[in-house]
């Protein structure tokens, strides 16, 4: 058994790391059949030196959503920076439907302002004009904010490009694994190391305000649940029971964690009140009860149980403790992740012989397989409900992949080396 001190443990100082650090690369494998064609004119920098290419970041965001196709820069006849520089006819001939122009200017207090416009080429007018401000290290934030604004204007859906993902990587070095818990932008950039250990790290869960992560770490030689602040890196061990300490899930009000303990002999769902440190047992069954996730009302949990003979999704009322089985099709339905509509579940579903991610409608009971890969697990839905990220395998390597909830759009995010797994999509962060 490894002692606290012996286990290699490293909490990263949360310095913004450059994209060169990033372990994830992204390839879009399937887009929308009729994507909206958008041109992002390079942002005029007015002599300001910055590392990032803001226009490219926006193109990447919009393309990754699958709903847009970005016009290559080499096809552009001009690089206008403001609406008055635009000759709409040129862009219409190129088949562009929307055009983004923008300009960065310095403000005296050391921050910068990005003025940008979304133009409708067919309508020959500005759809909106907007400004965002930030310091030099926040250029990626500004780009993602622009993407959010553009995406929302055209699709009517709130953009989630300013959110983040947490995930676990595992690299084998001289026969031994090194596990890392990371947080990055949704495009894989600005990866931050939260925890490094020679023992497994599992099941990251975001607090609803996006400031903390709860997760399982084996660094003490056994599984234990920790919480860690993303800004200060300060961490706290929350559980230390014999047996399983797993599957933490933060309640919508941020005050409680649902989790799994087997201290009473077999895995049961518990609720931990974070202020009082009091545990309440919610399930009472000799079967496996695990993978709790909260419903938006904060009064119900969904969880996986094999009490019916195979793993299926159940709904639990945390007050009455009444349990109701939800899934019946297939002999393996597990690890539910709820979309923000409160009605669509993403889950791991065993089809004939392979494990896919499926969507399950809580009202109609309809189950649709979304993925075509195998060994798929850990679905996590974006806070705007447009996409979900899951873990799968490419050859013998663990990779992350994304699919839209209508299955029309797909992309993969393999790590540069080793395995990547256990994705958790953050809530909206502002």
């Amino acid at each position: 058994m490894l002692s606290w001190k012996k286990s290699l443990l490293l909490i990263a100082l949360l310095l913004a790391s450059g994209s060169a650090w990033s372990e994830l690369v992204i390839r879009v494998t399937q887009g929308n059949d009729k994507p909206t064609i958008i041109a992002v004119s390079p942002i005029a920098l007015n002599g300001i030196q910055i590392e990032e290419d803001i226009g490219r970041i926006i193109e990447g965001d919009l393309t990754r959503s699958g709903l847009f196709s970005a016009m290559p820069r080499r096809d552009m006849l001009a690089f206008p920076a403001t609406a008055i520089d635009v000759y709409f006819r040129d862009w219409r001939i190129l088949g562009t439907e929307y055009l983004v122009v923008g300009s960065l200017i310095a403000i005296d207090d050391g921050s910068y302002q990005l003025d940008f416009s979304l133009l409708s080429v067919t309508g020959q007018k500005a759809v909106f004009e907007h400004s965002v401000r930030g310091t030099k290290v926040q250029m990626r934030d500004l780009a993602h904010l622009m993407s959010d604004k553009i995406y929302q204007e055209i699709t009517g859906i709130r953009g989630a490009f300013s959110t983040r993902i947490a995930y676990v990587t595992a690299n084998r070095v001289k026969g031994k694994f090194i596990y890392r818990l990371n947080v990055s932008d949704t495009d894989g950039a600005r990866e931050k190391l939260m925890l490094e250990s020679r023992e497994p790290i599992m099941s990251p869960s975001w607090s609803p305000n996006g400031k903390d992560l709860a997760y399982v770490s084996f660094e003490t030689g056994r599984p234990a649940i920790f919480r860690q602040n993303l800004v200060t890196a300060e961490r706290q061990q929350l559980t230390n029971f014999s047996g399983l300490n797993g599957a933490p899930s933060w309640s919508p009000d941020g005050e409680k964690l649902a989790l799994v303990l087997s201290k009473d002999g077999n895995p049961e769902i518990y609720m931990l009140d974070l202020a009082s440190n009091r545990f309440t047992r919610l399930t009472r069954h000799f079967a496996i009860d695990t993978e709790p996730t909260w419903m938006p009302d904060g009064k119900h949990l969904l969880f996986t149980s094999d009490r019916g003979g195979s793993p299926q999704i159940y709904k639990l009322n945390v007050v009455s403790k009444k349990v109701q089985r939800l899934t019946f099709r297939g002999n393996y339905n597990a690890r539910a992740s709820l979309a923000p509509d409160g009605r669509t579940l993403a889950l791991v579903h065993r089809g004939t012989d392979v494990f896919h991610i499926a969507s399950f409608d809580l009202i109609t009971g309809r189950l649709i397989e979304l993925t075509e890969t195998r060994l798929d697990e850990s679905p996590t839905v974006a806070p705007n409900g447009a996409m979900l990220i899951y873990a799968t395998k490419q050859g013998d390597r663990g990779v992350l992949a994304a699919v839209s909830l209508d299955a029309g759009v797909r992309y993969v995010l393999p790590a540069r080396s080793g395995d990547v797994r256990e994705p958790a999509w953050s809530p909206f962060l502002r």
């Binding site: 099941s203 047996g243 599957a247 496996i288 996986t304 690890r335 791991v348 697990e377 395998k393 797994r421």
Partner: protein
Amino acid sequence: MKNSKKFALTAVLLSLLVGCSTAPTDDTTVIEDTTVQTVQADTTIEDAAAAAGSVFYFDFDKAVLKVESRAALLAHSSALMASPRSVRLEGHADERGTREYNMALGERRANAVKEFMVLQGVSSGLIEVISYGEERAASYGSNDSAWEMNRRVELK
């Protein structure tokens, strides 16, 4: 418990046989031989446990001990009763299905082994159970033969 007696009996019989073959001329010689054989009997139990293998395999999503695991577990149980020491049962699952469910499955498998050993008479206080789920594969492929190797409990 029963099993340990069986081992002890075998040892005594062996000692008698050995005793006969050495053709003792008087009582003293026989007593010496028995003493020697008692030591050998202990060694035999531990040898049997050591030779038995300490990894026990399971079917997919199952925690039922296989018939072929029984003999080895009986040997280990006898050895632990003869010379008690703390052991650790590490439960594992293959990579299919979800990680937290597999954590629970690994624990269920390790508990199945523990229950069997406790039924044989091993003190439950000597047995620590931990599950690694699918986090520590024994074989890294994504195929039936690798999965078979990974659905296991290791006695350590």
